[in-house]
Symmetry: C2
Subunit: 592 residues, 2 copies
Amino acid sequence: MTYRAPINDILLSLNHGAGLAAAVEAGHYGDFDGDITAAVLEEAGKFASDVLAPLNRVGDEHGIKLDNGKVTTAPGWPDAYHRWTAAGWNAVSGPEAFGGQGLPLAVNAACTEIWSASNVAFGLCPLLTLSAIEALDAHGSAELKKTYLEKLVTGEWTGTMQLTEPNAGSDVGALRTRAERAPDGTYRIKGTKIFITYGEHDMTDNIVHFVLARLPDAPSGTKGISLFLVPKFLVNADGSLGERNDIHASGVEHKLGMHASPTCTMTMGDKGGAIGYLIGEENQGMRCMFTMMNQARLGVGLEGVGIADRAYQQALAYAQERRQGKAIGHKGDGMDPIIVHPDVKRMLMQMRSMTAAARTICYATAVALDVSVRARDAKVRAEAAARGALLTPIAKAFSTDIGNEVAYLGVQIHGGMGFIEETGAAQHYRDARITSIYEGTNGIQSIDLVTRKLGANGGASVWALLDELAAVIKQVETSNDPAFGTTGAKLRDAHAALERTSKWLLERLASAPNEALAGATPYLRLFAATLGGCMLAGEALAAKANGEAEPQRYVALARFFAENIAVQAPSLEKTVTESAEAVTGADAVLAG
Amino acid sequence: MTYRAPINDILLSLNHGAGLAAAVEAGHYGDFDGDITAAVLEEAGKFASDVLAPLNRVGDEHGIKLDNGKVTTAPGWPDAYHRWTAAGWNAVSGPEAFGGQGLPLAVNAACTEIWSASNVAFGLCPLLTLSAIEALDAHGSAELKKTYLEKLVTGEWTGTMQLTEPNAGSDVGALRTRAERAPDGTYRIKGTKIFITYGEHDMTDNIVHFVLARLPDAPSGTKGISLFLVPKFLVNADGSLGERNDIHASGVEHKLGMHASPTCTMTMGDKGGAIGYLIGEENQGMRCMFTMMNQARLGVGLEGVGIADRAYQQALAYAQERRQGKAIGHKGDGMDPIIVHPDVKRMLMQMRSMTAAARTICYATAVALDVSVRARDAKVRAEAAARGALLTPIAKAFSTDIGNEVAYLGVQIHGGMGFIEETGAAQHYRDARITSIYEGTNGIQSIDLVTRKLGANGGASVWALLDELAAVIKQVETSNDPAFGTTGAKLRDAHAALERTSKWLLERLASAPNEALAGATPYLRLFAATLGGCMLAGEALAAKANGEAEPQRYVALARFFAENIAVQAPSLEKTVTESAEAVTGADAVLAG
């Protein structure tokens, strides 16, 4: 079956759960007209359903082929990419000075969800290009921008991000790729990078690689890393393509999922060194990477949301159609669709509510990142930057965790058919698996949340957010809508658990950091369960207030999440605060 | 890396957690000498490491091929199967009158874990044969037993179980395969079965199919189903193979995992009808199936345990070897193995403790099934039968749920390498996925637990078990071993939650059955978290009491489980008892 973008859910989430409408109203988005969002998303949804969704299985089955350094993508893929860029989709949030439409990241975030839902392996390519654009726009010289930025913004050329080496994964500082200064001010890069997404392909004429490397006299660790732009083909002064640069794909990986996306080993320096151009300053490469990391991590979170929604749509359709057994009270012959069975309903509601919560967390991250650069008031910008920094690891890790969980349930609802590849449910399950690993594993995200985001400012960002969530909980409680069930109570318990746990972690960060780190993963889950629960409740309240069609649907969804997911908060609190010794003292068990 | 059977852990679990030693001591196992268990398992572990484990990836990569109705298994597989049966491994728990060794199911359960851990797609074949043996032994005529039983017990021939049809999966009663009476007392079977595991292969000369079908005058639904023995080759009076029967594999599935295990579409009746022999009485096929279901479900649970242990061993080895980052307080250059990081320790402990809990739940189920047929005292047998019936759905569903969760974490610990197929971590993840679906989905298991096992006898089986668990908790509390941390308190909370939730469900089963069904899945998890926690604590106490080497390792393991898994019990209680309306009222959300 195909994919249909859930435009109403997306708009409610974006405008109300994530706060886009309020930020526009407050003037933080300048002259952006929020009314166009719906039209943009409708068009994106149409393109996704018509062009990208049908290529999803083709890509999975066909995969890619590497022959003599050239990668061939699946049939129909280059054409789809050309149509996608021609329609302007790569340029949605790109800088207007370089051919972009300058729309909010938040709007592009919704688009990213839509591309990911329809065809995640396709959508991954422009995600990398967006990161490249961000790095170049923020740190590149005027000349480099002139030559490369517009091509990247339009998508005529794609970008790659080259960090990982066999001995430098989560520990980027260990990388060994060498850069030597050439007399003409350029650099010669030699080394090998692995796991390079879309490092080589046949969808565009040129590929612009962004490579982290180390100068001969660089300090060790992350302080000695520089960022270089390394084009596949050098670019002549008139903008035409020149010589082939000394960088090529020497291998591609055989992966569990994302078969259509080439994951390349890139070799530089077979012929003396790839020509590279410095981005920013020497030894400042990590700083350049950090500026773009928020958006890249958010992009991966949106992949999780997209895969989850696709898996949900497919499982829902199956559950409405497949007949087995009878509902309690069914008289007479025949079987009922399995959606009548409470256990199937539970699975579907779990899928839908977790997807909705992750969606709003991601969109709220995008709104914060937008406001952090768009708002006129410096204080508003600073607060938004802190909010964006806080939410980013949650958006990435929670959304990709639930992407996997939802895809798992999607297979389960299909029963035995779910295990058969032709059904398609298994592809979502396989594709989702990388999202909790790449762009910083979810363990790294949790540690980032605890040490840098909670710990860095004594918890100030967390307290500010908790205040806002408390206001939503109060609204739920005072709404007196019996359809909320125990939502208010569950969220209040979760809120209190999150506050206490945050304080406990802050104390331990100072006194016993390993104990704080031991609780990082359950803390992130506790955070997301509370945050997501409050956001869905806020959306339900907004749906009621705004006269949304059938607002009670959103109340029921928020209630399910509160009573099934947010309800785990007190247990998660105990896991963080009472099991640290069981973790740090694990050595004897693991040795035996 | 290869697999090593964790003999010490298995023996502690079997003898103490699962209660084999006490049952032997009480005389329930007749003259079985418990001392031989260790020797049997050592040999099984050796065979698994030397022969089966190396074929696991070969099987995954090569898969199977269907050509003209013939299935070719992966290179080395037929030879391994012959060596395995020649060594007597198929006959471990088979009836002695027919060439079996008559060892306890509990010992064979440990062996099944070992085969599944080393090579789950291989171990799946004899699991089906064991079910066939059970059906034939319990319900077959003397003549059928004489012809087929010994061949099945030795494994010279394999068995299949043929229930599923395109429109009859969880709802077996909907099957349409027809059986017509022939004048000679045999039957002619016509129809198509799907998802038939090892329905066709090249490892043995003959295959004995056990097929559910419907007579022309049969009542509708499950009351009109009969069980037939349908050999691939008919057997002559002298035991030699005769004509090819009218049953063949017309297709094989392309699956997410278990690539080496052929999953066949079986067609009967192209040439007038396959010759079938009735097992038991006409229209009593479901009764025959039910007698063997416990053991088959337990077998699948053990697949979950096996895959989990294999994934754990592989992840542990990787975490000890792979270096990234530094431990807190590490001075100087170089990186530490990732096992120093608390987040990695947590994942490994989660993997190990969940595996250990599932293992003991499975073994305890096997002990109960043993005692239910071996004990001399009828009351002891009846109580054991009730215990076995209660534990079976938990053993099946929890073990396969955690098999998937542990395999997920195994991939996660490998980082990017986990997504690369050559690493092998992804295979465990793919293979595990079917275990929570086949032999009754885990949703079906949960419903069985609530309606038939809890509900059938007013909760008597549950109260009896809760009493035993309370005694263990008391022992933990009175042990005054500070290494238990908050284990006693966590288990006490879990125990109380399980008791209250069981009562709530019993009440709702009568007053509002859909609300009880809505909580079935979280209830099973709550049950397993409590039961597994108490069992691991009991093992730790036994290890201390028996002078086990390093007993504190088992205390630490029990503590981790209590503080990280059993701690979820109070939240799961609320999910069951307070979210039923959110589930049963989901229709409006799911329709929109």
